[in-house]
Symmetry: none
DNA sequence: TTACTTGTCCCATTGTCGTAGTACAATACG
DNA sequence: CGTATTGTACTACGACAATGGGACAAGTAA
């Protein structure tokens, strides 16, 4: 379900957090979908249940997930962002893109290459 | 010279190692070029000298750098031999894209919107 | 030679990550 | 009701990352 690499020096909690956010962003997880239980996901990824629990808790704090004891953890609806003005939105996206472009460029990727990569993932998503 | 983010959960030594390798791979550092001294780079990046020293030592062990006491540390291999495999490159871009997609989405941007934004920048750039 | 620079090594300390195990709280269900 | 399931909380522990400080080794240069 999610992809984790224990050999990679990046902390597991961060890999998992990114993985979950990505799954939501690409539509693999939709609003209201239930995530695996803390214990089940820990078994699947071969990591500790506490690590999973901390990620779920963190994502709930930031409003991405919603958890209900005895029931499970679900993707939470997030209506808040729309409050921004169009100008704020544009500026926000521009800043994020600035950072991303700089990051990929220093690693030797061309903008064409990057866009093509994103586009191929969009196609994969819409194929679901 | 190199880019390090202390707030990022990835270990500093790993960020620095990757940063140096990319600088060589992209030609910013060439064979025989001298790198900053251990202490100087530590000051520049605001990290500890031991951390820098360990990275240099590790990169010497893997043949990327060559160090001479009292003189300095230099690029050893030809960039071509250091070039990342296609798989490494793909994986790297995938990680960066994962992060970017997740980040933009949590801020309420759709993937379509993001790609369109990048595309408009590409058009502007090629117009120059 | 002496002084300086550079990389190397060692120690103690701090904080984070992750594991392991246990216990508890809230909910669902028969 | 009782029981299972699920999330939460807590402690203890080991490993690693990083810091700070100091000392040493090898080379350069005056």
């Amino acid at each position: 379900m999610f992809h984790i690499d224990a050999k990679h020096p990046t902390p597991l909690y961060h890999q998992l957090e990114r993985s979950i956010k990505f799954a939501i962003a690409t539509g693999k997880l939709r609003i209201g979908d239930q995530l695996p239980t803390v214990r089940q996901l820990a078994v699947d990824l071969r990591i500790n249940a506490n690590t999973v629990a901390k990620v779920y808790a963190e994502l709930e704090r930031s409003g991405v997930l919603q958890t209900r004891r005895g029931v499970g953890t679900f993707v939470h609806e997030r209506p808040a962002e729309l409050a921004f003005s169009r100008r704020d939105r544009d500026r926000n996206l521009r800043e994020l893109a600035d950072h991303f472009i700089a990051e990929t460029h220093t690693r030797g990727f061309t903008l064409d290459e990057v866009i093509e990569h994103l586009d191929s993932r969009r196609r994969k998503r819409s194929a679901n």
